[in-house]
């Protein structure tokens, strides 16, 4: 995916130059950070809930096959059809075939990052099927022809002023005013007609409940219910790591998911979908299909990125990431942005294409601190750096530089000599106490001054002092 994108540094530079983008990022992540902090402060059991959430995920990951088979049995018993997809291509093919079998002209879709991961929007377009995104933010980016820039707020890169422009140009009739409430009403009116006319509704799943065979969606807009209930066919696409043993476990994870994502205590809508419409049911789909997607997950299970399978897709890591808050989601270039995306994108798109992502991190550790399931994200990013170094994907100049530095650093006497020469040479570039421009250090001096070394190293001065003492 995304082979035509310019290199990461260019994407980042373009994002940094976009001040409207920065305004949009600051508004959303700033609010998210404050609300999460308040929600955690108001929930004294948060640490205990987090430990429990982590234990649930670790248990499921260690027994993934067992619970997946249990889920398949129970989902099948409820009347749903379970499909298995090894990779994104197979998942796309299954969903597209199900839509074509249903003779679908229009499908509604409620927000699902897994759907983005497997490239479903493009696949549906290629099959000549009209796709209607029903999540408000997904509706916005569909109108704009964009991809999500955040896993919780896909349109967070757009300010409300930009959304007003978009709706004025796209909605017929256009919204009467550009306050958020009027714009939401306008989207609701446009989308409501589509909800009722769709042949197939496609949703993701926040949880797959093994002991009931139900899938669970959580939203704040109710669009998932309107996507999954009126159409004749409901298709669920979900990653295999979404499995939980029981409904109680799903609720335990929901407590930390919602607080970490939006700072709410609970989502407005939490729906368990268990099989198609049964005789006597007032509504519901006639057919229900669940597509379980691996796409690299079992490979992660067996390797050093196993802990990443705990991720419940709350987005807290990106809301608290200094890099994400400067460049936004699109600059990352993958389906999943921010710290969790920097771990996942090399899995999905290959390390050679994504080697910048694990490197473009200050290793400050804030993502791991706020992660509701305790994923050691910096450790996992370092594992990618290690692999990138081993596979010689890092630039030659860096490899040579580190290699030379290491040769000197092994030899304290040589290092002493080199630093004595180095600090004296550095002084030559400065005036007063500062160096404003330095060859080979343009990355530093383009933006900041470098303090001029004092001229003699600590070790030189210390040895002199020691001699004086004797």
């Amino acid at each position: 995916m995304n082979v035509a994108l310019p290199p990461f540094k260019e994407r980042a530079r373009a994002a940094l130059a976009d001040r409207t983008l920065k305004l949009a990022i600051d508004r959303t992540t700033g609010t998210a950070e404050a609300k999460r902090a308040a929600a955690v402060a108001a929930f004294p059991e948060f640490d205990a809930a987090r430990a429990r959430g982590r234990a649930i995920k670790d248990h499921v990951i260690a027994n993934l096959g067992h619970y997946l088979e249990m889920f398949e049995r129970n989902a099948t018993a409820s009347g749903a059809h379970v499909h298995w997809a090894v990779d994104d291509a197979e998942a796309r093919a299954i969903v597209t075939r199900l839509c074509l079998d249903a003779k679908a002209k229009v499908v509604t879709r409620s927000k699902s990052m897994l759907g983005e991961e497997i490239g479903l929007p493009h696949a549906l377009a290629d099959a000549g099927i009209e796709r209607v995104e029903t999540d408000l933010a997904e509706h916005i980016i569909q109108l704009a022809g964009e991809t999500p820039s955040h896993i919780i707020w896909p349109a967070m890169h757009r300010t409300r002023e930009q959304v007003a422009e978009l709706f004025n140009a796209s909605h017929q009739p256009p919204p009467e005013a550009d306050d958020p409430a009027t714009m939401v009403q306008s989207a609701r009116r446009v989308l409501r007609e589509k909800f009722l006319g769709a042949d197939v509704g496609i949703s993701g799943a926040n949880f797959l409940v093994a002991d009931t065979g139900a899938t669970c969606t959580v939203t704040n807009e109710g669009n998932a219910e309107l996507t999954t209930t009126p159409p004749r066919v409901h298709i669920v696409t979900a990653g295999i790591e979404k499995i939980v043993p029981s409904t109680a476990h799903a609720m335990a994870l929901l407590r930390i998911l919602v607080r970490s994502a939006t700072g709410g205590e609970l989502t407005q809508y939490t729906t368990f979908h268990c099989g198609p419409k049964r005789p006597g049911d007032a509504d519901g789909p006639e057919e229900m299909h669940i597509v379980l997607v691996d796409n690299g997950r079992t490979k992660m299970l067996a390797g050093e990125f196993r802990e990443m399978l705990r991720c419940i897709r709350c987005g807290a890591c990106m809301n608290h990431c200094v890099v994400y808050r400067q460049i936004g989601g699109h600059a990352y270039g993958g389906t999943y942005p921010g710290p969790m995306g920097s771990v996942l994108t090399p899995v999905l798109d290959g390390l050679a294409a994504a080697r910048d992502l694990p490197n473009a991190c200050t290793m400050n550790g804030r993502c791991a601190e706020v992660c509701p399931v305790g994923i050691p994200i910096p450790t996992l990013l370092r594992a990618w750096r290690r692999r990138s170094w081993r596979e010689r994907l890092e630039p030659g100049a860096l490899r040579a530089g580190i290699g030379l530095w290491a040769q000197v650093a092994y030899r304290p006497a040589l290092y002493r000599l080199a630093s004595r020469i180095g600090v004296r040479a550095l002084r030559a570039f400065g005036r007063d106490g500062w160096i404003g421009s330095l060859p080979l250090a343009g990355g530093w001096t383009a933006y900041r001054d470098l303090p001029r070394p004092s001229g003699r190293t600590f070790m030189e001065q210390y040895r002199d002092q020691q001699k004086g003492r004797k």
């Binding site: 791991a368 290491a406 990355g443 303090p451 001029r452």
Partner: protein, 255 residues
């Protein structure tokens, strides 16, 4: 300390202090001696290896780690004026050498006696400076590795509270990264610049005379940005203030 043998401390000054600001090393020696330690500075020290470690070059990092452990493991304690370098030794090295039968236990034992200096002074020695005075306002930035990997937060503040006439002002976003990140700041300099610009704005917003922190790398990044912006904030390592050595030139000033 009467009756008790004097604890021996091997001081690892760090490569940046050695090259850029030696007086932080002398402040460290002074404080450790005041707190009753016998301080030595072994010759066989260069760098904790972070440039290699953070670039994924484990082989070179491990070689440096083994050499440094061998040179320092005879001391009762190993102390550094940096949370970042200390965290590499405390967490990074044992992780790196875990699979090495000859070194795994030594790395663990070494990690257990390695400390960032302000936490060592407070948590291990129960030290508090006396007779220090500095009539200035100051704000404090929490460097990330020390804060999150070693729990350094209360200790420097507790020590600074003993400095008479020093007015501490809260820094909004005090626990948010300054954008240094070691090699990150030169590899991804555009992003780093955007981050440190926000940090500089927050520091200037406090109106404090001084910016204090516990890591020279972060301090150089913030001081360099503040100076480029024409800000008047003066930057010191916290232990320079604690040792009564903040009456001279700040980072980037010359006598």
């Amino acid at each position: 300390m009467s009756g008790q043998p004097q604890p021996t401390v091997g001081l690892f000054v760090t490569c940046l202090v050695d090259a850029i600001r030696p007086q932080i090393g002398f402040a460290a020696i002074q404080l450790l001696e005041e707190a009753g330690c016998r301080v030595e500075v072994p010759e066989a020290q260069t760098c904790c290896g972070q440039p290699a470690f953070n670039s994924g070059d484990d082989r070179d990092t491990a070689r440096l780690a083994r050499q440094t452990i061998a040179a320092f493991e005879g001391f009762d304690h190993v102390v550094l004026p940096s949370g970042s370098c200390a965290a590499t030794m405390v967490h990074g090295w044992p992780e790196l050498l875990a699979g090495d039968p000859d070194w795994a236990a030594r790395a663990k034992a070494f990690a257990a006696k390695t400390h960032e200096i302000t936490s060592f002074l407070v948590d291990v020695l129960g030290y508090a400076p006396s007779g220090r005075r500095l009539a200035a306002s100051a704000t404090y930035h929490d460097s990330c590795s020390g804060l999150r990997e070693l729990g350094v937060a209360a200790q420097p503040r507790a020590l600074l509270a003993h400095v008479e006439a020093l007015e501490m002002r809260g820094l909004p976003g005090n626990d948010v990264c300054c954008g240094f990140g070691g090699t990150f700041c030169v590899k991804y300099s555009d992003i780093s610049n955007a981050i440190v610009t926000e940090k500089a704005e927050a520091i200037e917003g406090t109106g404090a005379d001084l910016l204090l922190a516990g890591d020279l790398g972060c301090l150089m990044n913030m001081a360099g940005k503040l100076h480029r912006r024409g800000a008047k904030t003066r930057c010191f390592h916290a232990i320079e203030v604690l040792a009564g050595r903040a009456d001279g030139p700040a980072i980037g000033e010359e006598a």
